[in-house]
């Protein structure tokens, strides 16, 4: 026992130390679910200054942390116990990895001495997640916790962000540490593009007759939106985006031609196929964007700007690569190139030619029009989260965004069930914002238990549930490419979603007439607390245009072609 007050040592348990380390990183909210191996941590959690959001499934917790991380550009934190708790996080971790979302994942683990013995709820989550984390740790000594947590946040948030896993054995969580070490101060020095490659990029753009910018999620992730807009507006170069790039330029800006790819806008796809220089900014040639890669931008030389060298020439050879932080690179390029008028006029013509139409026949709800109305009612500050399927593509096409951080969509992994938990994360991150989750009747069932989370914390998330009684996008492909063999996509035995929501304590309405859309949306946005609008739509409605498999992006199928 140390009786000299001048030399009193601080004594902390591993769990206390982990919580202190999280607080040291500025963590105020976490998402999780308790269980056996993580119990000592949860025992201390309620005495900490950190607010815990109990999700009703670990996948919900991981995806909520993703939504938080995407919205704030700081690591979202999720917590689960060992074994099934940890494996239930896996989809959320993979989702964050694929979309470069900062996240710190804490998993309970059986005690060190029990590992490798097939102990109760033992699973090698470190091994399972190796392919889907930016980095991971198993904490072997409680003394290492401050360093590991500091490194985890440093890695998760800097460079190309991603999820970092900390596996936390039970014996470490209860071990006592005398005078724990202070966390290290870690400095991030952003990589800067070399001047020669910037000059080469500018030279190629100057030579171009039909230059085009193709931008992705990297611009928002690196907080380079302002620099990007300055460069693009000064140059006048037309631009297209990936799904994750939506919002880097306001949707109604003249240079913005739309999203490219499988369900991209015709103007964007035609511009890509006809450009002679393609400047790729923070995008990775995802196959949903490129279609048949060998036919993508066939006449173009490529300039590729990215912070991650491993993306350069991974799929499409870069003629000029500019590796480094995007913002200073874009600033260095601003005001030094311009684009010829003829090409700009051509792009404008395409934009007009391929404008969206909302004059669908009938009096049923036309989902694209509803989403356009929602976007107009909600305004530019509304956050929209999506699930995956037809509704996700309709949001990308018909909602207007002027900030990429307001559009949360599972791009790389395509995770059905993402929308609702992501909305929880976004609402926790910014309680004052209007957060709308647009979902489908297939997707909502993947994480419907999170309605209980909305109710528990009174999170005023608004849900627009587009219900066509099918797995719509799969049904569409079955119709077009599988001879109408609708294998296992009929969901006509869906529950009454409005009653389900009400059973969770959430106000709900059902909508089935186009004339009632405006009133219903106004009700949804004006309702205090969480609310759900159950929207019945035509089960045969398809997403257009569509680039068939193996085709180039300009070879789009449209509704008219197949007589719809």
């Amino acid at each position: 026992m140390n009786s000299n007050p001048k030399t009193l040592v601080k004594v902390r348990s591993g769990s206390q130390l982990l919580l202190e380390s999280l607080e040291h990183q500025g963590v105020k909210e976490v998402f999780g679910y308790p269980g056996g191996a993580i119990m000592p941590f949860y025992d201390e959690l309620v005495r900490s200054g950190i607010k815990h959001y109990l999700c009703r499934h670990e996948q919900g917790a991981a995806l909520a942390a993703d939504g938080f991380g995407r919205t704030t550009r700081r690591a979202g934190v999720c917590i689960a116990t060992s074994g099934p708790g940890a494996t239930n996080l896996v989809t959320g971790i993979a989702n964050a990895y694929m979309d470069s979302v900062p996240m710190v994942v804490i998993t309970g683990q059986v005690a060190n001495a029990l590992q490798g013995t097939d102990a109760f709820q033992e699973v090698d989550i470190f091994g399972i997640t190796l392919p889907i984390v930016k980095h991971s740790y198993i904490v072997r000594r409680a003394e290492d916790i401050p360093r590991i947590v500091a490194e985890a946040f440093h890695l998760a948030e800097n460079g190309r962000p991603g999820p970092v896993l900390i596996d936390f054995p039970k014996d470490v969580s209860i071990a006592m540490v005398n005078d724990p070490p202070a966390p290290p101060k870690l400095e991030w020095i952003p990589p800067q593009a070399d001047k020669a490659s910037v000059a080469a990029a500018l030279e190629m753009l100057e030579d171009a007759r039909r230059p085009l910018i193709f931008c992705g999620g990297g611009i928002a992730i690196s907080d380079s939106v302002d620099a990007f807009r300055s460069f693009t507006r000064a140059s006048g170069i037309p631009m297209v985006t990936t799904l994750k790039g939506i919002g880097v330029m306001p949707s109604d800006d003249p240079v913005f031609l739309g999203m490219v790819g499988m369900h991209g806008r015709g103007s964007a796809n035609h511009a890509v196929q006809n450009c002679d220089v393609l400047m790729v900014v923070g995008a990775r040639f995802d196959d949903r964007a490129t279609g048949q890669l060998s036919k993508f931008a066939p006449a173009a030389r490529v300039i590729h700007l990215d912070i991650d060298p491993a993306e350069i020439s991974k799929l499409r050879k870069a003629d000029v690569s500019v590796v480094g932080e995007l913002e200073p690179t874009l600033k260095a390029m601003t005001g030094r190139v311009s684009v010829n008028r003829l090409w700009r006029e051509q792009c404008k013509t395409w934009k007009k030619e391929f404008d969206w139409r909302y004059d669908a026949p009938g009096d049923g709800v036309f989902a694209p029009l509803l989403l356009k109305q929602l976007s107009e009612l909600g305004g530019p500050d509304m956050v929209v989260t999506c699930d995956v399927g037809q509704h996700q593509m309709w949001v990308a096409q018909h909602c207007k965004f002027s900030n990429p951080l307001k559009h949360l969509s599972s791009g790389g992994l395509g995770t059905m069930g993402y929308g609702l938990p992501a909305a929880i994360g976004a609402k926790v991150a910014d309680p004052e914002s209007t957060v709308v989750c647009v979902s489908g009747d297939g997707s909502i069932m993947m994480n419907i238990q999170e309605l209980a989370t909305l109710n528990r914390y009174g999170l005023a998330v608004k849900i627009v549930l587009l219900d066509n009684s099918y797995l719509g996008l799969v049904r569409q492909w079955q119709e077009l490419f599988f001879d109408g063999n609708y294998s296992e996509t009929d969901l006509s035995d869906n529950p009454d979603f409005a009653r389900v929501a009400e059973a969770f304590g959430i106000e709900a309405r059902t909508l089935d007439r186009r004339d009632d859309v405006q009133d219903a949306l106004q009700w949804l946005l004006a309702t205090d607390g969480p609310a759900l609008l159950h929207v019945l739509i035509d089960s045969q409605e398809n997403v257009w245009p569509l680039v068939p498999p193996g085709k180039a992006n300009h070879e789009m199928m449209t509704a008219g072609e197949i007589g719809i």
Partner: protein, 93 residues
């Protein structure tokens, strides 16, 4: 495409899982491991000599390995990897 053999030398930290992480990445990214030799730990580092086969370039594997936190250096022994950011603007596709 033609499959080509690449030889690389990788210096790893001694952190838990470092070798598993590096070897797993190779196979997942389309590089089939042919031979592998791990040298005794020296000065807090492990040295791994590997031979892989792939129709993908060694330079891409090098950059993907270099992303790993535990990977300290990667040298391609059998193929000169183009330096990132040094492509000439006039180079055709």
């Amino acid at each position: 495409m033609n499959t080509v053999s690449h030889q690389l030398r990788i210096e790893l930290s001694t952190a838990e899982g470092a070798m598993l992480r590096a070897l797993g990445l190779m196979e997942r990214r389309g590089y089939l491991l042919q031979t592998c030799r791990l040298y005794a730990e020296m000065e807090g580092r492990k040295v791994l000599d590997i031979q892989v086969e792939s129709d993908r370039p060694a330079s891409l594997l090098k950059r993907q390995l270099e992303r790993l936190h535990d990977v300290l250096t990667v040298k391609v022994k059998s193929e000169a990897a183009p330096a990132v950011g040094k492509f000439n603007a006039r180079t055709s596709k």
